[in-house]
């Protein structure tokens, strides 16, 4: 069976490194091939890594509140790079100030993200969704 490939990283000028190390360990353990960019990854680094590794999904983390600024245009750039079918996930503390999650989710979905996660989502659930979404994209 093909090992599904994913690109993981913390976007922008964000240096929150703890969750990134845990996500890396968790998704690796769950059977994914993880290309981990670590912290402070630019949009181009995400896309370069996705092209090079032929990844099915990009998992973007943002913990410091600049999520909206840092993620803007990622979907368009992905399309320009020929990554038409790539899944874009985003999760973390995505905006400055307490905001209802539904509002945050809508903003990021409008920006072209396929799924949006809060800090309290369960990782087992995320793995399940990712597998399902990757399967669906193949069809």
């Amino acid at each position: 069976m093909d090992v599904p490939r994913i690109v993981l990283g913390v976007i922008g000028a964000d240096c929150h490194s703890v969750g990134n190390k845990i996500l890396d360990a968790y998704f690796t353990e769950a059977g994914f091939h993880v290309v981990n960019l670590g912290v402070m990854a630019s949009q181009d680094e995400f896309l370069d890594a996705a092209v090079e590794s032929n990844a099915g999904a990009i998992l973007v983390s943002s913990l410091y509140g600049h999520g909206l600024i840092d993620c803007e245009g990622l979907r368009q750039k992905a399309i320009e790079r020929g990554l038409d079918k790539i899944l874009l996930y985003v999760g973390g503390n995505l905006v400055v100030g307490k905001t209802p999650f539904a509002e945050i989710e809508k903003k990021f979905k409008d920006m072209g993200f396929d799924r949006v996660f809060s800090p309290h989502d369960d990782l087992t659930e995320a793995v399940k969704l990712l597998r399902q979404d990757l399967e669906d994209r193949k069809r």
Binding site: C15, K21, A25, V39, M40, G65, H66, V96, G97, K98
Partner: protein, 483 residues
């Protein structure tokens, strides 16, 4: 070890390039203009004086974290925190773009924040706002204000913010690099911080005391006290070397109360010992305790409890200052009301505890202080041995060799081989020591304590246990027990 300040001519040789790195730098070309401005600031707004007074009175001062993109909004926020929140000391937290010297992105963040009618930056972009913008902020409040950030190259920010009326500056060449950056060389960052400390030393020589606070908690994630203590003491030595006189060393709450009290007691003692041994005198040492820096519960009632436990330890540990969290910590940057609520909760505990003396002289705390002391001494002597009389060189070599190693840090110059785990009582111990130069007797104790937990939980000590511990407090417990 030889301690000598950066020669003033070397400082001045660097300075034009620092000031040229963003247009607002030219406004602070005259250091003397900045000094004159600082002389006009009332004593009640000098951070160093406030810390010294708290020490003499045996009081614990409260300080929040706060910063937004626009000057007017930032002033409103700080005023709210000093009135409604009764903060004793104010912060100005700097945004993450400025911390990486990405001033153009900070400029875009300012514009977008104006357009959005809300801050899209996670802090105050002080370099972009420049000297006069900083003065508007520091003049608008009645309490001393500190720059709090996470900037590896903080030279321009220091020049602008000190000339702008801030009287305390957080950070250090290790604590603002290893946990805050990915690819900044250890030696480069240490030298950039020598510049910052030398600038503050120059202010000191000219009669203006600026408080300096190395960032104690590092990654804020299960950092054993001895690792953060060794780094705090090293940064203290580097600051004193450049002429800094008001020094506040920090420690972040670990969660086990007795370990935290032992950590606070030993930090004060060890720092004084190392500073005196190095020949430094006439400095003013104070302590800051950071309320829990790891993940918080989402439920605000539960978050208040985490805050209150931290407030208790700050009080029992007799620190001069505590940095306060908000009940919205789990979702990121709090509203001003939530920030003030964290301050009020902390104030309530501190006031109730004010006249009580908690006995910290007991057999367990002595066991822990003794352990921390032996661990810190092991690291410090290995750093000194690697130094060849040059402390910067010693620290560079220590990170390269894993003599210093910060758990979970993002820097590629940090080995990242140290793994901490809680023992069966919640003390932070070492599961993997990496290349830390710790003796067999010390490691045998860590191992024995972890075996106890392993037995109690009926599972081996593994990375899963580390992960469970990292999320435990956000899920309502101290120790990450299996379900």
């Amino acid at each position: 070890m030889k301690y000598q300040p950066l020669p003033w001519k070397d400082f001045l040789a660097q300075r034009p390039a620092v000031l040229d790195s963003w247009p607002t730098g030219k406004d602070v070309a005259s250091i003397d203009e900045g000094l004159r401005y600082q002389r006009g600031i009332p004593e009640s707004k000098n951070f160093a004086k406030a810390m010294a007074k708290a020490k003499a009175a045996g009081r614990t001062l409260l300080q929040p974290r706060a910063g937004v993109a626009l000057i007017d909004d930032h002033i409103r926020l700080l005023r709210f925190l000093e009135t409604e929140g009764t903060a004793d000391l104010l912060p100005t937290t700097i945004d993450a773009y400025t911390r990486q010297n990405r001033y153009e992105e900070a400029a875009r963040g300012i514009e977008k924040s104006r357009a959005a009618g809300t801050s899209l930056l996670n802090g105050f972009p002080a370099v972009n706002h420049g000297r006069d913008g900083c003065r508007m902020v520091t003049e608008a409040v009645t309490k001393p204000v500190q720059v709090r950030h996470g900037t590896p190259d903080a030279r321009l920010l220091a020049e602008i913010s000190l000339a702008g009326g801030f009287t305390s500056y957080e950070g250090g060449g290790i604590s603002y690099n290893i946990p805050y950056a990915k690819k900044v060389e250890v030696g480069k960052c240490l030298r950039d911080w020598q510049y910052v400390d030398r600038l503050i030393g120059y202010y000191e020589e000219n009669g203006i005391t600026i408080n300096r606070e190395p960032f104690g908690p590092l990654t804020g994630t299960l950092v054993p006290p001895f690792i953060s203590h060794a780094i705090a003491i090293l940064e203290g030595l580097l600051a004193l070397e450049q002429g800094v006189k008001s020094l506040t060393l920090g420690y972040g709450q670990g969660g086990n109360v007795l370990q935290d009290l032992a950590a606070l007691a030993s930090l004060r003692e060890l720092a004084d010992e190392y500073f005196h041994r190095a020949g430094f005198d006439g400095y003013d040492l104070t302590l800051v305790f950071h309320q829990w820096m790891g993940g918080f519960p989402e439920d605000e009632a539960k978050a208040f409890s985490v805050i209150s436990l931290g407030a208790f330890v700050a009080s029992a540990g007799r620190v001069e200052k505590t940095i306060v969290k908000s009940p919205q910590e789990a979702v990121g940057i709090p509203t001003k009301e939530s920030n003030a609520a964290g301050l009020k909760a902390t104030r309530q505990v501190l006031s109730m505890m004010m006249d009580q003396q908690i006995c910290t002289d007991n057999v367990v705390i002595r066991r822990e202080t003794d352990l921390i002391r032996r661990e810190v001494d092991s690291l410090m002597s290995a750093v000194f041995a690697a130094a060849d009389d040059d402390l910067v060189q010693g620290i560079v070599r220590a990170f390269a060799g894993g003599i210093l190693d910060v758990p979970f840090a993002p820097s590629i110059y940090n080995k990242g081989k140290v793994l901490p785990i809680r023992d069966n009582e919640g003390y932070i111990r070492l599961f993997a020591k990496g290349s830390l130069p710790l003796g067999e007797d010390i490691m045998a104790f860590h191992k024995e304590r972890l075996q106890e937990r392993s037995k109690a939980e009926g599972r081996p000590v593994t990375f899963q246990m580390v992960t469970d511990d990292i999320y435990a407090i956000s899920k309502g417990k101290l120790i990450g027990r299996p379900k």
